[in-house]
Amino acid sequence: MRRCYLFLSFLLLSILSLAQTRTITGKITDERGEPVPFASVKLKGSRSGIAADAAGNFSISAKDNDVLVISGTGLVEKEITVGQDNVLNIPMQRNQSALTEVFVTGYNTKSRRSSAGSATSVTIDDIRTQPVASFDQLLQGQAPGINVVTGSGQPGRAANVTIRGRGSISGSTQPLYIVDGIEINAQDFSTLNQGDFESVTVLKDAAAASIYGSRAAGGVIVITTRRGRVGPTRFSYDVQFGRSQWPRSKLKLMNTNQKLDYELENGNPNGWTMAEIDSLRNIETDWEKVFFRTGITQQHQLSASGGNDKTRFYASIAYLNQTGVVQATALKRYTGRLNLETGNDNLRVGMNTTFGYSIFTSTQENDQVISSPLNGIRWSLPYFTPYDKEGNYLQDPTPSGQPNPLQELLENKRRFPQWKAIGNVFAEYKLPFYPAIMLRTNWGLDYTQNETEIYNRRTTAAGQVATGGQGSLARAFNRNLRYIGTNSINFKKTFGGEHDLAVSVYQEYLSEQFRAFNFTGYGLTLPFPNEAAITNGTSTNGFIPTVAGNGTENSLVSYFGEVDYGLMNRYFLHAGFRRDGSSKFGINNKWANFYNIGASWIISDEAFMESTRGKLDLLKLRASYGTVGNQDGILDFAARTQLGRSSYAGTTGLRLIDPGNPDLRWETRKTANVGVEFGLFKNRFGGSVEYYHSVTSDLFYRRAVSGTSGFASVLANAGRLRNKGIEVALRVQPVKTSSFSWNVEGNFTYNKNTILELGPDGEDNVQNGVAVHKIGKPLNTLWLVRYAGVDPDNGDPLYFDKEGKVTNVYDPENNVYLGTSDAPYFGGITNTFNYKGVELQVFWVYSLGNEVYNNDRLNVENPGYTASQLSTDLLREWRNPGDITDVPRADPSVYFLDATTRFVENGSFWRLRNVQVSYNLQRNLLQRLKINSLRVFVQGQNLFTITKYRGYDPEVPAGGFINAGAQYPTLKTITAGVNIGF
């Protein structure tokens, strides 16, 4: 049965409006009736306005139904509709705190004062100019509750962002990103220009995020782009240049003499003769120097903004070129944007559009593959050089199998161009006969087109292992189109002076379509670096190309609404409901309901708090409870029993690929949140403290089934996960004089993640590499045998057994639960100093209390890999009875057991993420130069990191509890730039 839920149609509303201009006079007062001097009175939607006099009196020309907008320093903006009275006495409310701010939810704008939910706005101006191509990386340390692991320093790589802890085991834990009402993917930020962003809001609890229903379990990050500013067209040009350096590694490798001596003492695995050794001793190659260069960043943006009371626009063009410190890695980006809106008092239409084109050239990272060039830095022998005297690539002749990593890097190509277009159009209509009701429709699309080009020259190791052994060229192409349409009816009205009511109902449709194809051609015997080199495949030459493709789609239909009620501008209630239907789920569970309720109370405005005024500017309590869902991280048709393509003997057949599960349903996260916000001493000290408690249930879970069914597991829902934590945000202004100010802002988050329930059959321990999912423990808990050092008598590695006794027998039965790799404590601290237009901003981030399995270290401490480069740690390995050391003897017969705590390291770090010195030119100079503003700055990123972690970077790649190897760490970058407004 097909049910139709909602049928909205508003057709042809014609209005005739006639009015006459007259003069309105009045007086502006505060709540106590005291006159407010010099407030601004404007006609809404026009540029004409006047200022009241010192006694609060004003006089302005207006028509019936015109709206007067009264604003002023320290006042809550107020709108008054001109009625029949020609004299208006307007009581204003004093702005008591920063709570007059608003924040965007993506569907509407909310007053921070009344909000019951947990939403944090990120100060975009502080981070926009940081030279990082993928915007999500910049969120690190900016707001409590958001854990950002940068994971990679490769230009253009996305970060791993988790809001309030991981809420899913096999589903996605990424937040939902919304740009101007359109959902986008985190990995596409490298093709978006953050210079266009105007506001960034992080929605964390149910009351704030629940409006996103089934997609909001990971939190929501809402971004709006700049709107035009009323006034003459203003231009601004932002430019910066900079250089990046490779950070030093704490993991030290042997030099030539150390390595050769070590080899000689350990059976000469590479079989050198004494003569060869003598000649090799003259070579000392620093493979870091071979690979690394100074990375160059340059960024330009020209934007224009302007408009009048009817039409306003914002436009920008921008270019970014960032070269990585590893040769052959870079990101180039070209973007453009036009935001335009027009209309009158009743109807507004507009559009926000952007296009982007980026070219990402990269190298493999986060693996332990021998042909990955970044592993070559670690594994190449110091007594080889990348080139011979004639400049030809040299090959490592030893049995290590290590290809020349520089050749792999420079001869092969990995290029990923992306095209992106995001646009939305909207129309808002305020009913002329009843302006409390506004109708709005918003339609947006996000189009992404990716190309992948991986070229392996036939002379390289990667080319030789390709089919046919003569190189390969893989080209893949995919496109993703997502469009979303939202219609809403919004009602907002104040009754009887003290009842504020806002009601909105929405209906939304989202559809996503994905298509991809790829081919790989072989036999690149011709000198062309493209398709022209491919040899046509025959049944005998082994060069038959592979061609494949796929496509999928999903859709989401939603109906939702919310109600906000405020009493006396002190007591606020909020309730929301959303019903989502998703194409992804089983026929029995396609639809799900999500709801949320919240309340807040401005205690400081109560009469009984009168005595504290002046000291306590704000005290607000809020609480919320609600549900959100997750449908991300499963295949689009995971609920269906499907046949897919099977290939056999050159023919294709049909094969069952998934048994399906008609009962598959949403992951649901229930969150309770309480918070207190405060401001003291004229808001020189303020902040918020929040506690949250959330439980995600019905986790996506591959339930193990009897293999006799022909399947190992069936995707089902089972298990529960809890995240609870405390978030603290504080700001203080220790010094404020007319010429100098010092501001400190900091945030701290503690998140405790606990698995409450695993599979449906009482599973309590699911292993996941060196980590384990265990009931009562956080996700990604390391589970290993404790290493107890070395037996001084015979050099055997020693372990602790379950009882803590030392044994020389390795037994996985002795595994113990260690720490988790997800840092429980993290945050950021910003110190800002201002002195006569010079600003110094020092921004630290920290992440504490996690553990990382350092597989990168393991690979250079493994005595089985004597033929390739090793760590200097092995210089202190056990040699003779009585040696006291922590490195066991290098006897190949000692089976190398690596699942021990020997390679577990503390992943905590403090990092000086950004330091910026800037200077704003004084007004008189600006006037002489005939420009509006000029700001010059110098900034340094990641200049200093405090960590015990022995690798390039404690921030290991996305989602990992393991630093696999081939790490591309976060870079040290220094840039200088100028922002000119004219």
């Binding site: 049910r3 139709c4 839920y5 909602l6 049928f7 149609s9 509303l13 014609s14 209005i15 409006s17 009015a19 006459q20 201009t21 020309s61 109807l347 030893t398 049995p399 199998g401 209509y429 002329p432 109708l439 036939r458 052994g469 219609n487 449709y509 082994g542 038959i544 592979t546 796929n550 999928t552 239909v557 239907g581 998703s582 396609k590 689009d636 048709f637 269906r640 029993t641 046949l643 290939s647 056999y648 003997a649 050159g650 294709t652 057949g653 094969r655 069952l656 193990a704 089934v705 009897s706 293999g707 006799t708 069914s709 022909g710 399947f711 190992a712 089902a716 089985g864 004597t866 033929a867």
Partner: protein, 478 residues
Amino acid sequence: MKSINKLIALSFLISIVAACNKQVDLQPTDVVPIERVFTSVNDLEQGVIGVYGTWQARRPIYLSAVFSDEARQGVGAEYRGVGAILFRWEHTSDAQDFRDAEAGNAWTNMYQVIDRANRVLFYLDDVPATTAADQAQKSRIRGELLALRGFAHFELMRWYAQRYTPDALGIPYMETYAQDPGNFRPSRPVSSEVITKIERDLAEARSLIPTTFTDISRVTRNGVIAMQARVALYTNNWDSAVARATAVINAQPLTPRASYPALWTTRNLPNNQSTEVIWKLNINASNVGLAVGPLFQDANGAVQFSPSTKLLNSYDSVNDIRFPTFYRTSPRPLLAKYGVITSLPTTENFVYDIKVLRTSEMYLIRAEAYAETNRVALGAADLNALRAQRIAGYTPMNITDRQMLIDEIMLERYRELAFEGHRYFDLKRRNLPIQRLLADVQNNTALQTLAPTDPRYLLPIPQQEIFANPNITQNPGY
């Protein structure tokens, strides 16, 4: 300011959206819901190809080689530790090699084959076949599916049956697919029950597949009979073994010595009965992931397993055509049966068909059946006939002793069927220990002998199955 009369006419259409369930009722485009697929005989044909594509014939080859005395581990930096646990007999039921998707585990894969076959069989009867050609094709498809189902169950018996005797614990027999996988928890019946059902499936398949169907990448009638012969061998059903092997030998004679190397150097043999290959699983670029070669040697030439010294020493390296065909000794001992890399750069991609059933196995089955029934001369004749096609200038061996004949047959199986997934199962079948040379175990005497009484001698049912299905009895020792 002059007052202006304004006329504002607005046409505003917010939207007309009929939002119905149909918008969230999308149909996939790359995959199809099963209930809509099987409507014609051609669809059934696609389904049966899907079953062949599921069968991973390399699993028993890997298991047998690593676990028994066919292979030795790689050494030095190039050895990535592949199969070390299995080679060292240190496996538990949860060892990596017995987990899903690992090359050592037949449990999941064979039941996948069975399930996919059962799913097609489920829809087969309802598919209309109006023309005679359609009816013939439908009946043949049914025959192929039954043969695949029966033989897959037999493969599981080879791996997991505790002994090949009627009263020993067998494996669950799936006569139809599991409707609700989440709650499907069968237990293990005794072997005789399973064998009866295997024999029934194979017998029916034999009657359904016509002799005119000669595609050896599929199960032909010769293929079914060869499967029956192997089942007879494992169940000591000697007379049937002789009769079935004879039927195959007569239909598809041995490939002679001169053309024997081409059997192995040709990547994709023609899909007809011109060679002694009775059933092979085709490997080409699209399913290269199922190829055997990469199990033992990496694409960069790194050796994970090489032929054991014991195996190499068992041949007459000068006159036996199999020695240069199956192996390389320069620059070092390497397996060449499924492609080999001796130097870089290379064009070797290990794309070689996997031969599952060959006529030479039929000779050895018949010889063993003769020996077991005290027809030593007939058995010796079969053995000598096979050797004459493999060894240049071979003088027929005079064998009169039954045990000697059986020993010679075991030796010949070791040589002829090396790295074809037989050795471990042959030893288990005859209750013999695994014995390795000291040279093949890096002088570690602990890895030399594994007696049939050792708890590690039997293969475990994967632990995953025990967790998911408490009704399954684990093999002793795990």
